[in-house]
Each structure stands twice: as structure tokens, then as C-alpha cells.
């Protein structure tokens, strides 16, 4: 029998979350974000959160919802520029912000999940990002040592998933979700469609179920688009 990771919904899936914990939250902008898990965090009113997420949502959606309620103490991100409330809290000093080059953020999450405590990368050498970090030359080129990231909970969103926690993402909604799924002590996956084991081709799975502790079928997805951009029909 395959393992069964299914929980009833976001409420059960977030059992154990507590004030002051560290959370990884998948998505790029508003694309591929775990909408249900974020809503549940808002509902629970958990505070003092450290959130590791490439972006911080917009004012009234995504992680912006947690910012509005001042639930987030610290953001670890690569780009946070679509959010007035974020700006206000950051400039006032209410919100701590740790900005990380996007590739280093992705690789540090993967490293956390893969048992690699640290690695060298050229990104950020010679900039303020490198301050206090070990520098070493490889092939004559300077690199800095970056450390793995870990989280108490990782919230990820996939397109399809099976009851054993195997996940398939759609298009560019994959982004940070697979690495964050690897790096959570407890990884909660929400999916648009939950299917029995055996329905997904074992050759086409993006996140093996071994990285997922809890899975549920999400609901009410808004899937907002930040910048609808179109071209005229000829």
C-alpha cells in the first residue's frame, strides 16, 4: 500500500503551527502560491512569523494578507516591491527584511532539503550581500559561502497531487515550490486536484511524496494575475 498523507483541509493541515515559527511559502509573485494555507494562517492569527518566500504578495492578496494583520516579523525574500503595506512596515522598522539573490534563495532552500549545509556561489560577491560571508576563489573567481535554509513548515501549491503526496505543478507555477517542499520539517501541499495513487505517471512527478507530510485538495482558488499583459489580435 502506498502511504496516505491526506488531511481534511487547511485547518487540519496546519495543526502545530505556532507563533514565532519559520515558514516557507511557495510561489513567484502571486503565481503558484498556497492560497488556502495563507488564508488559514490569517484566520488563526499566528504572529511573529518568519516567512521565506521569493515575494511578499500584494497589498490585499498572498502574503500581503498576513502583513496587513502584522503577523509577519521577518521576510526572507529576493524581491518585495509590489506592496505598499510592506513598504510602510519596513520603513517604520516594524518588519525585518533579509534580501537574498533569487538564485541563492532557491539553492539555499534546495540545500536545506538535500542535507547540504552550505555551498559556494558567485552571486553577490563584492556587494553588501557578501558582508560577513566567507569569500573563496575557485578557478580564480571569487565566490561566497551561503548556508542552507530550513523551515518549521513549508506551504506549497501544486496543480495535481495524489494521496501519497506526489505532486505535479503546472507551467511556471512550479517556481520555488519544489525546493521548499524539500526543506520543510512539515511540508503541507495543497492541490487543485487530488487523485488516488496510481493516477499520476511515476515518470512525470515533480515532487516525490517523500518530501510531503500532509496534502489536501484546496478550494476557492482565485489565482489572481498581477500584470495581465496581452497583445492585440491581428
Amino acid at each position: 500500500m502506498a502511504l496516505n498523507k491526506v488531511v481534511a483541509g487547511p485547518q487540519e493541515a496546519l495543526t502545530g503551527v505556532a507563533d514565532g515559527m519559520t515558514f516557507m511559502v511557495g510561489g513567484f509573485g502571486l503565481c503558484g502560491i498556497p492560497e488556502n494555507a495563507i488564508s488559514e494562517m490569517v484566520k488563526r492569527g499566528i504572529t511573529g512569523l518568519t516567512c521565506i518566500s521569493n515575494n511578499a504578495g500584494v497589498d490585499d492578496f498572498g502574503l500581503g494578507l498576513l502583513l496587513q494583520k502584522k503577523q509577519i516579523k521577518k521576510m526572507i525574500s529576493s524581491y518585495v516591491g509590489e506592496n505598499d503595506e510592506f513598504e510602510r512596515q519596513m520603513l517604520s522598522g516594524e518588519l525585518e527584511v533579509d534580501l537574498i539573490p533569487q538564485g541563492s534563495l532557491a539553492e539555499r532552500c534546495r540545500a536545506g532539503g538535500a542535507g547540504i549545509p552550505a555551498f559556494f556561489t558567485p552571486a553577490g560577491y563584492g556587494t553588501e550581500i557578501a558582508e560577513g560571508k566567507e569569500v573563496r576563489n575557485f578557478d580564480g573567481k571569487p565566490h561566497i559561502l551561503e548556508m542552507a535554509l530550513h523551515a518549521d513548515f513549508a506551504f506549497v501549491k501544486a496543480w495535481r497531487g495524489d494521496t501519497a503526496g506526489n505532486l505535479i505543478y503546472k507551467a511556471t507555477s512550479k517556481n520555488f515550490n519544489p525546493m521548499m517542499a524539500m526543506a520543510g520539517k512539515i511540508t503541507v501541499a495543497e492541490v487543485e486536484e487530488l487523485v488516488p495513487v496510481g493516477e499520476l505517471d511515476p515518470n512525470q512527478i515533480h515532487t516525490p511524496g517523500v518530501f510531503v507530510q500532509r496534502i489536501f485538495q484546496g478550494s476557492g482558488y482565485e489565482k489572481r494575475i498581477e500584470r495581465v499583459t496581452t497583445r492585440p489580435r491581428v
Binding site: G29, S104, A171
Partner: protein, 217 residues
């Protein structure tokens, strides 16, 4: 003087067949509209696609298919989606042949500053630091001067750096320049722009060797 679209057009002339190209936000995005005939390239967007196509027709937007600027896009035949770690493996591993991005300042030693203005809201570096630290071939697309008329091609960057000694070429509204041996080398003038104008708008060391041709757009 070049329009933003013409800056993109001039950069597009540098594309070579078979290249994978990462285009930053702003002017660089426009490069995709000017691919020369007979040149096949593929565009990477670092949020997880190779083979990025044009914007979708109205009504055909897919919330799951965006570029790094969070705009809705389409995928070309032969496209592929991947996660952010794989995306930056491509970038860091030098599998992308050309990076085009904007800048606030470029220094004559190739340093670039494009992510932070002290005292202002900092939005973050996104993927820019990874891109500039790894790419061998970086073209900066920007205005030659800022809104106050001050040169953006400097002896040394005054703003916090994004990367050191990495920029190889710059295309501005005034000129096409190469960055090497600690100086800006003027290669081409924008149509109707004199060498004198470019000199006056360039704070960094400017090397002018012989007759400087006008761009051919």
C-alpha cells in the same frame, strides 16, 4: 537619440543564432520584438521557462504562465518549464549566452548598480545578482543620463553594487559602448548624436578610436 524601443532594436542586432537569452524587466523585454530574420534564439525567464513566447491574446491569459516581471506570457513550441533552482543552475552554470538588463549606474570597470538607492524603499535584487555574477556576456540597456541629466556611465558606481566587473557592453539612447580595460570604448553613435554629446554625457573614461560610425537600425 534612440527611443527605448530602438535601444532594444540595437541590442537585438547582437543576437546570434542558437543563443539562450535572459531579458530583464523594462527596455530589455522589448528586445524580443526585434529578433533579426534568420536568427533563432530562445528566451529564458528566470521564474521558470525557456522558450518564452509573446504576450497572450486577450482572454487567453493563464495565471500559471507568467514571466519574471509577473506579466502573462505564452510558450513557444519546444518550451520547457522548470523550478527556480534549475533556472538558476542554468544561469550560474553559464548555459545562458546573453543577459540583457537595465541599470542605474555602470562603472568603467564593469561594475553595475541597479537594485538599491539608500534612503529609499528597497524592493530587492530579484535574480539580478545571480545573473550578473555568472554571465560572461552582459549588455546593459539604459538611458545615458538620469532624470537630472547626470551621467549613468561613471568612473565608479556611487550606489550599492549589484555585481563587480561584469558588464561587457552598454547600449544607451546615445551610444553603443564596450566596457573593457577599465574604460568605456565608444563603438557607435545613435543616429544624429555627435561624439561631443556622448563625451559630455559620459563621466567615466571614454575611449574614442578613430571615426565612430552611426548605428544602422
Amino acid at each position: 537619440m534612440l527611443s527605448k524601443d530602438q535601444i532594444a532594436q540595437r541590442i537585438a542586432q547582437e543576437l546570434q543564432n542558437g543563443w539562450y537569452v535572459n531579458l530583464g524587466i523594462g527596455i530589455p523585454t522589448l528586445v524580443a520584438n526585434h529578433i533579426p530574420d534568420g536568427i533563432d534564439v530562445e528566451f529564458q525567464s528566470e521564474n521558470g521557462i525557456l522558450g518564452m513566447g509573446p504576450f497572450p491574446y486577450e482572454g487567453e491569459e493563464d495565471a500559471d504562465l507568467i514571466n519574471a516581471g509577473k506579466q502573462t506570457i505564452t510558450a513557444m513550441p519546444g518550451a520547457v518549464y522548470f523550478d527556480s533552482a534549475t533556472s538558476f543552475a542554468m544561469i550560474r552554470g553559464k548555459h545562458i549566452q546573453l543577459t540583457v538588463l537595465g541599470a542605474m549606474e555602470v562603472a568603467q570597470n564593469g561594475d553595475i548598480a541597479n537594485w538599491k538607492i539608500p534612503g529609499r524603499m528597497v524592493k530587492g535584487m530579484g535574480g539580478a545578482m545571480d545573473l550578473v555574477a555568472s554571465a560572461d556576456n552582459i549588455i546593459v540597456a539604459m538611458m545615458h543620463t538620469n532624470k537630472k541629466g547626470a551621467s549613468k556611465l561613471l568612473k565608479a558606481c556611487s550606489l550599492p553594487l549589484t555585481g563587480v566587473g561584469c558588464v561587457t557592453r552598454v547600449v544607451t539612447n546615445l551610444a553603443f559602448l564596450e566596457v573593457k580595460n577599465g574604460a568605456f570604448h565608444l563603438l557607435e553613435r545613435a543616429p544624429g548624436v555627435s561624439v561631443e554629446e556622448i563625451k559630455n554625457a559620459t563621466e567615466g573614461e571614454l575611449i574614442i578610436n578613430g571615426e565612430i560610425p552611426e548605428m544602422n537600425l
